[in-house]
Symmetry: C2
Subunit: 418 residues, 2 copies
Amino acid sequence: MNAHIITIGDEILIGQTLNSNAAFIGEELTKIQIDVRKSSVISDNEEEILKEFKRCLNENDLVIVTGGLGPTHDDITRTCIVKFFHTELVNNYEVLEDIKNLLNKRGKKITKTNEGQALVPKNAVVIRNSLGTAPGIWIEKENKIFTAMPGVPFEMHQMMNAFVIPKLKEKLINSDYYIKMLTLQTTGIGESDLFEKLGNLDELLNGAKLAFLPSQFGVKLRITVKEGNEESANNKMSEILQRIRSKSGRYIYSDKEESLEEVVGRLLIERGLIISIAESCTGGYISNLLTNISGSSAYFERGVVTYSNASKIEILKVDEDVIEKNGAVSLEVARQMAEGIKSISGSDIGLSITGIMGPTGAGIDKPIGLVYIGLCDDKVCTAKKFNFGDLRLRNKQRAAQAALEMIRRYILGISYDE
Amino acid sequence: MNAHIITIGDEILIGQTLNSNAAFIGEELTKIQIDVRKSSVISDNEEEILKEFKRCLNENDLVIVTGGLGPTHDDITRTCIVKFFHTELVNNYEVLEDIKNLLNKRGKKITKTNEGQALVPKNAVVIRNSLGTAPGIWIEKENKIFTAMPGVPFEMHQMMNAFVIPKLKEKLINSDYYIKMLTLQTTGIGESDLFEKLGNLDELLNGAKLAFLPSQFGVKLRITVKEGNEESANNKMSEILQRIRSKSGRYIYSDKEESLEEVVGRLLIERGLIISIAESCTGGYISNLLTNISGSSAYFERGVVTYSNASKIEILKVDEDVIEKNGAVSLEVARQMAEGIKSISGSDIGLSITGIMGPTGAGIDKPIGLVYIGLCDDKVCTAKKFNFGDLRLRNKQRAAQAALEMIRRYILGISYDE
């Protein structure tokens, strides 16, 4: 089965909103072996919408649409669906009940605008929306599937998980091949260096496909194996993984779609370690990442964002003279910050970070992108120097990723020397 | 001039990477009045790429492509361009020098892989890349413009700003209408409520267009005015703005594409106020947002992420008995946290936040999404209760936005009572 994802909305075209919906749908379809051929973004314009519906349904088995189903005047997707399928709107009492219940839970009365949302195309199966007032639409016609959902991400996610994906799974017939896809996540090495470290790709891959996906967090390696059945796909994937790991295993922090903070969180729990963090230049970003993980209170005790020198001295007992002599962005201050946070929190690990994120703040010997990361446990205190780039937010992300990687390498005993 | 944006890369289609490139390009083109008609994402597949080039160049004046120009084997965009335009690759010595210089700065020698990147299509103008090794490509043919850039966002941004946008500006001819677009950013009010507050839209808009764009940060209102010339577009926009502000001004925090933390930062600087933040449930996210802004050290003194009860008691001097009696997620603890951070930092404003982000941690009277935000100055200490939703990361974002809005309303003296 192949699919086309249509996102409707000027806000996406003109760059006000990132198209996270197409990404989510693409990921979910790929997981159940549906081939996402193309994705398009079109304007809230009737003519364009009708043209795109026609073209995409001609070329694909499945068309998934998001956006333009909301309660306001600029939501025209439903009208277009009615025209496209030559049908009409009818009142759906189940949906009306859903809307009333939802508003009731929020302590609100139903308005005329809300009531209008219970009107659905006559030929459609309704996808109920437990998190919002706009229902989704599912239409099957001439062996093709057409489905439309509202563009609010968490409403759409819930409808995909509860209705669309299970329904598609039923429809999927057995095919004569099996595709296995796996992504290795690396950090601390650039794309070209990694490419050269892997050597001869034909030997490495034996017919499989490998894609390099660089970002500020590291380079992902996506491996795609296509074999006659699941077992031989699994075997081939294992062989490739073994070869890649032998060449660059130390840089790989995961073989799943997970973040480095998830990996670090799991390692901390496994080892029963508690961490506390003292941040200067990253301004709370590392603590934020660690506490994005549910259950992080088991290993994250506290964080401090010691942005001013006064706060470094008062909270972390960093030596005023050391700041005076070396500057706040220095190996020695990083070390003292890590010692300080470990000591006041009583945690097993104290991690610290200080640096210059830009665009201002650079000195003669201290360029933008200069960062020191410190790590102390009961026995040792180390600090390491990094040089990142020129862009502030990117530097925060790269610095945080490097700090998380330092924790990972500390726990697993992976050195930074080659 | 109308445009189509093509993004090449399986990683976008299968949802591994968000399409931030199309968003950036869409935004930049819109700013110079180029009409972004459509955007599409296609696979790293030669046949698909050639088909899409043809269709898009037929239907549009301008086609902008990103992705697939990197140094590795899976980057096939350049080959496709050569085939599509029936041309050949030639060595470009300027590009070769750029690559050598860039690698030299990083302390690296040029490799064979890098050298290959100096090959460019014969019919193309080269777009030089100061931040990476892959050059961009600019081709004009039969009154159409075709341009391709690498998919690494910050390299592409630099090429857009330095080359593509200036070049497009030269090409733009005067048109007989003028489009003005403006976005109002609101927070603290839902889409339907805002819609009803605005009343009769025909009267409000007088022929202009209005779009509602909801997200976890609030609802954006995008107003589009199309008039014969710039002056009458400006006048009409002013009238509409005045009418909207009179109906729902208190919820509007900006009429620009800026974040609430930027607005709050500017207000703090204008009033000469210093703030410090004590976070529990948001785990450093608010401090992180405030310090995303360059120059934030002028108003952000320090932050603490008092995740454990011990840290609330030790750092912020929250009363242990009050935690025991009311729980860490309570109005009283929020108030004491705000008092504590104000007192230890000596800042003008102390802001605090404590809540239950989920999925675990809910109690009988304390559902997931319950959040208290406290704010103290020299005279008053207040705290306010909020109820957000069920999803952890979304709750962090909504809670942080509500906290920033509380600072904005405090500074501007806007009450929460209607």
